[in-house]
């Protein structure tokens, strides 16, 4: 009976999240608390399943990104990219893509692309080209960049906390493949958009007239924010061998920056996306329920049977399964569900570290396939549509699927070559 209840609540919750019938945070909270109310899992176990390291890491990074955002940094960086490119559209497309990827590796993808979008729209308007190539590339690049580090994408945050793998481990294991995918992606953009981006020299000069200093609202706070964020990254690397979790480091850094910037607590906490945090809370409790009743074990057993417990087939299959799933459903609930499955697979004797990397790569990169595959995709599409440039599902998928398949293929070769080749 408990299995049926847990499974049913789980499926309905995920369906509600995937179809956007109701707000996804409400769906997750309803699902996560219903399993308690109906006695599928007791409160202590459900509350105990809420990974506070994840919650505090997300909170800390939201505060850091939010304070940095106040300084005009993102707009400044975008205008700098314009200057570096000399206003030449294709070079600008590459510059924006690299900027989106680089910033997304360390800060929230959504904040990054939302704040790059206005400069992108302005520049495209002045250059008299469509903004779509720039926006699409920024979306794709931000998801690739976010794959590279522990804090670049929420699936990595979940995996890092569950696996105990630190910031340095993510950087050393996923950084190289993310960088390689980014290089290949940049080369692909010439094929995708190279022909669409030619403009007259006088129009380029108009774009170069932008003054990046004018968008900085607080240069002092900018320097302070960048210093604290830099120290936080160092803290993640240094803290791991000392047994300090990223959540503690991120919250400490956020509090320090808030204090030094003389912002009051209400302002600082206003930067936190509470809805996102409670989305995670609901998911943790719901997943705990399906773990306790044995559904996760059953999924793991089924996967083992399917692959014959072969590490290569299981690991490489996980990349593609995760990629496919993330393309169509939110990669956060997918990852939250697959974490205990991976733990079961590891307990069954399949080398676990490659599985973690496979899950991370698939879950992060799969989000590039469709316009609904990741939050960054959806918000940029929203901004673009309101500016009169709709990014349709079909338009995006033409590029997204190609980039995703190639990214997953590169990931497959990388994971096999680095971890599975005997």
């Amino acid at each position: 009976m408990e299995v049926v209840l847990a499974g049913g609540i789980f499926l309905v919750t995920y369906a509600l999240i995937a179809t956007d019938r109701i707000d996804k945070t409400l769906a997750a909270l309803l699902g996560g608390t219903l399993v308690i109310v109906l006695g599928v899992v007791d409160q202590d176990a459900a509350f105990g399943a809420v990974d506070l390291n994840v919650i505090f890491l997300l909170t800390g990074m939201m505060v850091l990104a939010g304070i940095l955002r106040r300084t005009g940094f993102f707009q400044w960086a975008a205008i700098k990219a314009v200057k570096i490119s000399g206003g030449e559209p294709y070079r600008l497309l590459i510059a924006f893509s690299l900027l989106a990827a680089g910033v997304s590796a360390f800060l929230d993808n959504v904040t990054t692309v939302v704040l790059l979008a206005p400069v992108t729209l302005y520049v495209a308007n002045v250059l008299r080209v469509s903004p779509l190539p720039f926006l699409i590339c920024e979306i794709l690049a931000s998801n690739i960049g976010g794959t590279a580090t522990l804090i670049g994408d929420p699936p990595n945050i979940l995996i890092g906390s569950a696996s105990g793998l630190g910031f340095d481990a993510f950087l050393l294991n996923l950084g190289p493949v993310a960088a390689l995918i980014l290089v290949v992606f940049v080369l692909m953009t010439r094929y995708f958009f190279g022909r669409d981006l030619t403009v007259h020299a006088d129009v380029r000069d108009a774009v170069l007239a932008l003054d990046e200093r004018e968008v900085l609202t607080d240069p002092g706070l900018l320097r302070l924010s960048l210093a604290v964020i830099g120290a936080t990254i160092v803290g993640f690397i240094v803290g791991h061998p000392l047994g300090l979790e990223p959540g503690s480091i991120a919250i400490f850094a956020a509090a320090v920056l808030a204090l030094l910037s003389r912002l009051d607590a209400e302002t600082v906490l206003g930067e936190v996306e509470w809805s996102t945090l409670f989305f995670f809370v609901g998911l943790f409790m719901l997943v705990e329920a399906v773990v306790e009743v044995g559904i996760v074990s059953a999924i793991a057993d089924a996967l083992i049977e399917l692959t014959g417990a072969d590490p290569v087939a299981t690991t490489l299959g996980l990349i593609w399964l995760s990629g496919f799933a993330s393309a169509i459903i939110d990669n956060i609930p997918y990852t939250a569900t697959m974490i205990p499955v991976v733990q079961e697979l590891g307990a069954a004797g399949i080398p676990i570290e490659p599985l973690w990397w496979a899950l991370a790569l698939g879950a992060c990169l799969g989000g590039n396939a469709t316009i609904v595959g990741a939050s960054a995709n959806v918000v940029v599409a929203n901004v673009s549509a309101r500016a009169g440039h709709e990014i349709s599902f079909r338009t995006f998928v033409r590029y997204g699927v190609v980039v995703t398949v190639i990214s997953l293929a590169i990931s497959t070769v990388y994971v096999y070559g680095r971890y599975l080749l005997v």
């Binding site: 704040l115 979008a117 302005y122 004018e214 929203n382 673009s384 500016a387 009169g388």
Partner: protein, 176 residues
């Protein structure tokens, strides 16, 4: 609440319009924002521009701030870029940057009938964060413009009348 205040709230809009020399300013949807800005500068008291179609029906309004943003975005985009804090700001900027015609910057119509009360008119202005409204006939064609100042003056007069009425009563009491 005194009777005078109640009465002020129930004053029909038709009685308030033109208590100050603030006239409607109308534009066609395809008008150039720069040209409309010149006209607005010649009539600075009117802070809400009405957009009418070919048959003269009000189809939208443009707050002067929004028109200014459309112009400023072309000259000094950095000023607006610096203020972008979230998705809503980014979307608004993107929309402003693409503005070529008045219809690109207009927002939905804000209008009342001549028989609407001052209270109803103020609620609409407050809800929409507007400092004026168009008064329209049954066909939706503008017949006048009600500025927030005109509406507020009616309330000021009611409050001052109350105050002088109260002072008169106090004097009487003192004499007694």
């Amino acid at each position: 609440m005194s009777d005078r205040a109640r009465s002020a709230r129930r004053t029909p809009v038709s009685a308030l319009v033109s208590s100050l020399p603030i006239e409607p300013l109308l534009a066609q949807p395809g008008a150039d924002p720069l040209e409309v800005m010149h006209r607005a500068a010649a009539q600075p008291q009117t802070r809400l521009i009405g957009v009418v179609d070919d048959s003269g029906v009000l189809i939208g309004v443009v707050p002067i701030l929004r028109l200014a943003e459309a112009v400023i975005a072309r000259i000094s985009p950095e000023t607006l870029l610096a203020d972008i804090a979230d998705l809503a700001d980014a979307a608004r900027f993107g929309h402003v940057v693409e503005s070529r015609f008045i219809r690109d910057v207009m927002v939905r119509t804000a209008a009342v009938r001549p028989t609407a009360t001052a209270d109803e008119a103020f609620r609409l202005m407050h809800e929409r964060h507007l400092s004026g409204l168009y008064v329209v006939d049954d066909a939706g064609r503008p017949t006048g413009y009600l500025d927030l100042l005109e509406l507020t003056l009616a309330y000021v007069e009611a409050l001052e009348a109350d105050r002088s009425g109260s002072s008169g009563s106090a004097d009487t009491t003192a004499v007694d």
